[in-house]
């Protein structure tokens, strides 16, 4: 649900500050963008008059155009999945551990594409973009976008790149939802679907977390009904709070205990006040405030809402297998034992539906302590499973 890499282990922090571009990285990358000027009819019934997608590509498309992989990012992710934008960049792309030459998503064999979602804030059209009708930022006038709409835009990008059929569409969390939607909506355009740490629909508890996050943003006095751009301000406290809540749910109890325990900041005695005492408080505040610098509050509202709305089984009386009726792709489904936001039980629902549909499916339940964030981390068994599966895909498509 996030593009995190920013927490976790010491070696991650080390890899986040390269003296030089590490081996097995895609290296320096430059985002590209494409403008689509035809109106896009959205699931909500409204039309987006035109839109831009920002995306990155790694590796080379083969002559047969058969070796392309689409990566779908999660809530706070973006198109920058791997590599560095400039030599001094502190942090590589959000899936640097998994995308690169010789890595599971092997850019020496595959042509890998990742696009920023519309509604997001990293360059693709979203609520902070200018509404052509008013000449001012859309704010909350931006139409509601859904997982289904995102798949539509990604398909237009595939057309633009001349890719008829992806070797695989791969995504974690919200990205995994996009992968499922791809398999349902455009079955002829992907061979393999890799659904990681996802769920067929959010639970009430999950929607509840999202609603608390949205309320934190919308009740911030600096929110101004989403028109904070004009006020030259932003709902910093609300967005930071939203991020702090989200962050707690992306980690496991175990991971937090291991990382922070009850350590006080700098080993100091209690302040007997309301300043930061515990390391975990300090960490969360830092996560919240740094997130405000790189993410737009309105985008957070839109994307969490798209998460809440995702429920392909709803049109089939809750029967997920029926929703998968059009699908023909082969699936790899991966979950993580300590993930309580998108638990293994949710992935098993997906597997059961695919089994019922007689679709080819492989399922791996990875033992991990890092909660939902596991999908971003180089957990050895995860790397093995994904690498082994995609190596077969590469053989199959002649990559």
């Amino acid at each position: 649900m996030r593009d995190g890499i920013r927490l976790v282990t010491p070696q991650l922090i080390k890899s986040a500050m390269p003296v030089e571009i590490p081996e097995h990285s895609v290296g320096l990358v430059t985002p590209r963008s494409v403008a689509f000027n035809a109106p896009l009819l959205l699931e909500c019934g409204r039309t987006l008059p035109a839109y831009t997608l920002v995306y990155e590509c790694y590796g080379a498309l083969n002559a047969a155009r058969s070796n392309a992989i689409l990566l779908c990012h999660a809530l706070s992710g973006d198109h920058h999945a791997a590599g560095y934008h400039h030599p001094e960049e502190r942090k590589p792309g959000w899936w640097e551990h998994l995308v690169g030459p010789g890595k599971p998503i092997d850019t020496s064999r595959f042509f890998v594409v990742c696009a920023n979602l519309i509604g997001s804030c990293k360059g693709s059209t979203g609520p902070a973009s200018i509404n052509p009708e008013t000449g001012t930022p859309w704010g909350l006038d931006f139409p509601m976008v859904t997982v289904r709409d995102w798949v539509q835009t990604q398909a237009q990008l595939a057309d633009h790149l001349g890719i008829d059929c992806w070797a695989a569409v791969v995504g974690g969390s919200l990205g995994g939802m996009q992968v499922m939607q791809w398999a349902m909506d455009l079955p002829d355009r992907l061979r393999h679907a890799v659904v990681i740490a996802a769920a067929p629909r959010l639970t009430a508890q999950n929607i509840a977390f999202n609603e608390v996050a949205r309320q934190a943003i919308m009740t911030d006095p600096d929110f101004h009904g989403g028109r904070y751009y004009a006020q030259n301000t932003k709902p910093r406290r609300g967005l930071a709070l939203a991020r702090m809540i989200g962050h707690i749910t992306y980690l496991s109890d175990d991971a937090m205990r291991k990382k922070f325990g009850r350590d006080t900041r700098g080993g100091k005695a209690f302040s007997f006040g309301f300043d930061v005492d515990f390391e975990v408080e300090s960490y969360l505040r830092h996560q919240g405030s740094s997130f405000v610098e790189r993410f737009d509050a309105n985008s957070y509202l839109y994307i969490t809402k798209a998460l809440d709305y995702f429920d392909p089984a709803a049109a089939h009386e809750g029967n997920l297998a029926a929703a998968f009726a059009p699908a023909t792709a082969q699936f790899l489904v991966i979950s993580f034992t300590s993930d309580w936001r998108f638990s293994p039980a949710r992935s098993r629902e997906i597997v059961q539906a695919l089994y019922t549909r007689n679709l080819q499916v492989t399922y791996a339940e990875i033992a991990s302590h890092q909660g939902h964030d596991s999908f971003l981390l180089p957990i050895p068994q995860y790397v093995e499973v994904l690498g082994a599966y995609l190596a077969r895909v590469a053989d199959e498509v002649g990559a």
Partner: protein, 208 residues
């Protein structure tokens, strides 16, 4: 592809080409890889061990990582033609539940297990007074995964008592071969027993 282990080759011969199967405790997917490549069989392996899951994936075998002791609830009634449980029944926590679940999921089941009635096991227990350690049961008592050992007679009485019809039986010796001795005294000379069973009582026991 290397030759299939003799017991797996017999199982492969029992599975109809083009059918859909579930191979419980599939290991590295040997049986399914063979059946998919040679007999147009589709289906899934089920395996709990991490390394074996990866090995099966490498061979292109669809594998579902799952603990069989947690049941088979995620697989629908009669959703496959055949459910295979090869040399794993004795390691399950609830062998009868598992057998009945297999019969719910598959129209037919194939079960194989090491025969505790084999003379070598009997010798070690009766004469040497030690827990048997044999080729088919290579673990010491304190670290064995095999917690529900049975003999051929035990298994057949379990089937009788639970309305399970045995359609076919093959008994192999310690060389994994069928000999006249296993045929004559299977429970004494059979080291591995292979059964093809179904829910409904049908054709009587046919010795191969």
């Amino acid at each position: 592809m290397s030759a299939l282990r003799p017991d797996l080759a017999i199982i492969a011969g029992w599975i109809r080409p083009g059918s859909r199967i579930l191979d419980l405790g599939c290991g590295e997917g040997d049986l399914l890889a063979h059946l998919r490549a040679e007999h147009g069989v589709s289906g899934y392996g089920v395996e709990i061990d991490e390394a074996r899951v990866v090995a099966a994936i490498r061979r292109g075998v669809p594998v579902i990582q799952q603990d069989l002791d947690g049941g088979l609830r995620n697989f629908g009634d009669q959703s496959v033609d055949t459910v295979v449980l090869s040399l794993t029944l004795q390691a399950s926590k609830f062998p009868l539940d598992l057998l009945l679940e297999m019969l719910r999921v598959g129209r037919e089941v194939i079960v194989t297990f090491p025969n505790m009635g084999h003379w070598h096991a009997r010798w070690q227990l009766a004469v040497q007074g030690r827990m048997p350690v044999t080729d088919a049961l290579p673990h010491a008592w304190y670290d064995t995964p095999n917690i529900h050992l049975c003999t051929i007679r035990d298994f057949e009485s379990l089937c009788r008592e639970n309305g399970v019809a045995v359609h076919q039986r093959v008994v192999l010796n310690d060389q994994r071969r069928q000999t006249w001795l296993n045929r004559l005294l299977p429970n004494l000379f059979g080291e591995v027993a292979l059964y093809r069973c179904a829910r409904v009582a049908a054709s009587p026991l046919r010795e191969e």
